[in-house]
């Protein structure tokens, strides 16, 4: 079956692939957005935190025999603890400075982390097997849908909803939103804003690490697996609107799908289409699709 000379099966399978990439874009840009919205920090170390999540899952399996399901909890906790220290020691010194310092510092931190991992493990990808409980595929007649890919989409949707709920519907989230508007007054009203910022950075890192563990079985685990991804994710954040949760989720999944469609319709531009969209969005709406206008 074809539409306009394009195979429907090919289109659907690329759409699915796009949805999966979109799931990673959404979870990663969500963490970046929350960190930027609250701390005003453009966290270029996000890709490195994503890579650490995947690598720690790999280490847990190779060295300690700890499988996928415990690892998807343990690895993000370890990365979160690392981020806690990183924020306390380095990041918090940047809050009062220009954004460019945050960019330089987090970019430097990312290069250091990635180089350390490359030094220790080499740059070749390490395989990480799909957990036995998620092997196999769903037969949809026109194509096979591997259970693991379905799990990625479901898990990332759950993460997006949980994050949205935590920020929009809880009292901690209300404090975060208020601090985004006017942190000194929130602190004068009695909220321990410095501690909240530490936890927010760690929370964003946990999201990145969960994405890393989710990615481990389908991308190979390597020191630079986050480098390319984070560039695309920054474009996603810009398109969605800096600091907007809704924007991150919609732009993440949407751009994954656009990328998938482009791969069928005009494969040559599939790796640049996101940046083309970014340029158009910036021309029409400089604050992004869902960015606050102030």
């Amino acid at each position: 079956m074809t539409i306009f000379g394009i195979s429907v099966v090919l289109l659907l399978s690329q759409l699915l692939l796009g949805l999966i990439n979109g799931a990673f874009y959404a979870v990663l840009s969500l963490g970046l957005s929350v960190i930027f919205g609250t701390l005003g920090i453009i966290n270029f170390a996000h890709g490195a935190l994503f890579m650490m999540g995947a690598f720690i899952a790999w280490m847990l399996l190779e060295w300690l025999g700890i499988g996928y399901w415990p690892a998807i909890v343990l690895s993000p906790l370890i990365v979160g603890a690392f981020a806690l220290v990183l924020e306390q020691v380095l990041i918090r010194r940047l809050y009062k400075l220009d954004h460019v310092y945050a960019f330089l510092l987090t970019f430097g931190v990312a290069m250091m982390i990635e180089s350390l991992f490359q030094n220790a493990f080499g740059s070749a990808g390490k395989p990480y097997a799909v957990p036995p409980s998620l092997r196999g595929a769903l037969d949809l007649d026109f194509m096979f849908l591997p259970y693991y890919r379905l799990w990625i989409v479901v898990a990332s949707l759950v993460l997006c909803v949980v994050t949205w709920f935590a920020i929009e519907r809880t009292s901690l989230g209300a404090k975060l939103r208020a601090a985004t508007e006017n942190a000194p007054i929130v602190q004068a009203l009695g909220v321990n804003v410095p501690r909240m910022m530490t936890l927010t950075y760690a929370g964003g890192a946990v999201l990145a690490a969960i994405a890393g563990v989710l990615a481990a079985p389908i991308y190979s685990v390597s020191p630079h697996m986050g480098t390319d991804l984070v560039i695309v994710v920054f474009a996603v954040v810009v398109i969605g609107g800096m600091g907007s949760i809704k924007g991150s989720v919609i732009a993440g999944f949407g751009l994954g799908i656009i990328e998938g469609i482009t791969r069928v319709v005009y494969p040559e531009s599939s790796s640049t289409v996101i940046f083309l969209v970014m340029a158009i969005v910036l021309l029409v709406r400089p604050r992004g699709l869902f960015g606050r206008t102030s």
Partner: protein
């Protein structure tokens, strides 16, 4: 009341915005249960005094004691935890929070604050609009919300920065009544005001701020005896 020990004592307070000095050795005190008012022209340093007490000034020296505890050098949230609350001049109602979320934002630090029911009976409008966005309220309602927000926490000293600013006379009257009700509950209030008529309806004591110093002080009875006493410091 006048024999009560000071709840807040400020002495030799100096503060700077960058290189420029805004306060030049401010000294005054506020006694438990009274309404003390800082009066003075725009730019005299009244708001800077409140910000220094709250720990919001980047650089401040001297001594501030609240309940015998030194507060200079503490973070704003640590000052708040001692029982000092600020209702800022710009009101700082958060646009991305509902009225209800704005109200519940400051953490409770001690017992003895207003309950939600008491707050809603004092400010019925807020109850009606509890799910509305914070900044969809009128100016008067936002001012009431900014005051209501700090009544809940159990803070004993409430610092209100120009609560009558930019409001219609009928609303100003309402705010004055509210402050009276708060005082009757035993709260101590440090008020900053330029509206002398408004201040006279509620204040027990006045400190006149000019060029970053306290240049005069007087009591309610002084002003009642000589109503023009404060005017000369305000009118140009």
């Amino acid at each position: 009341m006048s024999s009560a020990a000071p709840l807040l004592t400020v002495s030799g307070l100096k503060a700077w915005y960058g290189e420029s000095q805004a306060l030049h050795g401010v000294a005054f005190d506020v006694r438990e249960g009274e309404v003390a008012t800082l009066v003075g022209r725009n730019g005299a340093g009244k708001t800077t005094i409140l910000k220094s007490i709250m720990g919001l000034m980047p650089r401040a020296t001297g001594e501030i004691r609240f309940n015998q505890k030194k507060t200079l050098g503490l973070r704003p949230d640590e000052v708040a935890a001692l029982g000092i609350a600020l209702c800022p001049e710009e009101r700082a109602i958060f646009a991305s929070l509902s009225v209800w979320e704005n109200l519940l934002l400051p953490p409770t630090i001690a017992g003895g604050g207003f309950t939600i029911d008491e707050i809603f009976s004092l400010f019925p409008n807020l109850k009606e609009r509890r799910d509305a966005g914070g900044t969809t309220l009128s100016g008067g309602e936002q001012q009431m919300l900014a005051i209501a927000r700090i009544l809940r926490t159990g803070a004993r000293l409430l610092m209100l920065d120009e609560p009558s600013e930019g409001l219609a006379p009928v609303v100003v009257k309402q705010i004055a009544q509210t402050i009276g009700a708060i005082k009757a509950r035993g709260f101590t209030i440090l008020l900053v005001e330029q509206n002398v008529n408004f201040a006279r309806s509620i204040s027990d004591r006045y400190y006149v701020v000019e060029m970053g110093s306290i240049i005069d002080q007087c009591t309610r009875s002084d002003v009642e005896a000589d109503p023009a006493r404060l005017e000369k410091y305000i009118t140009v």
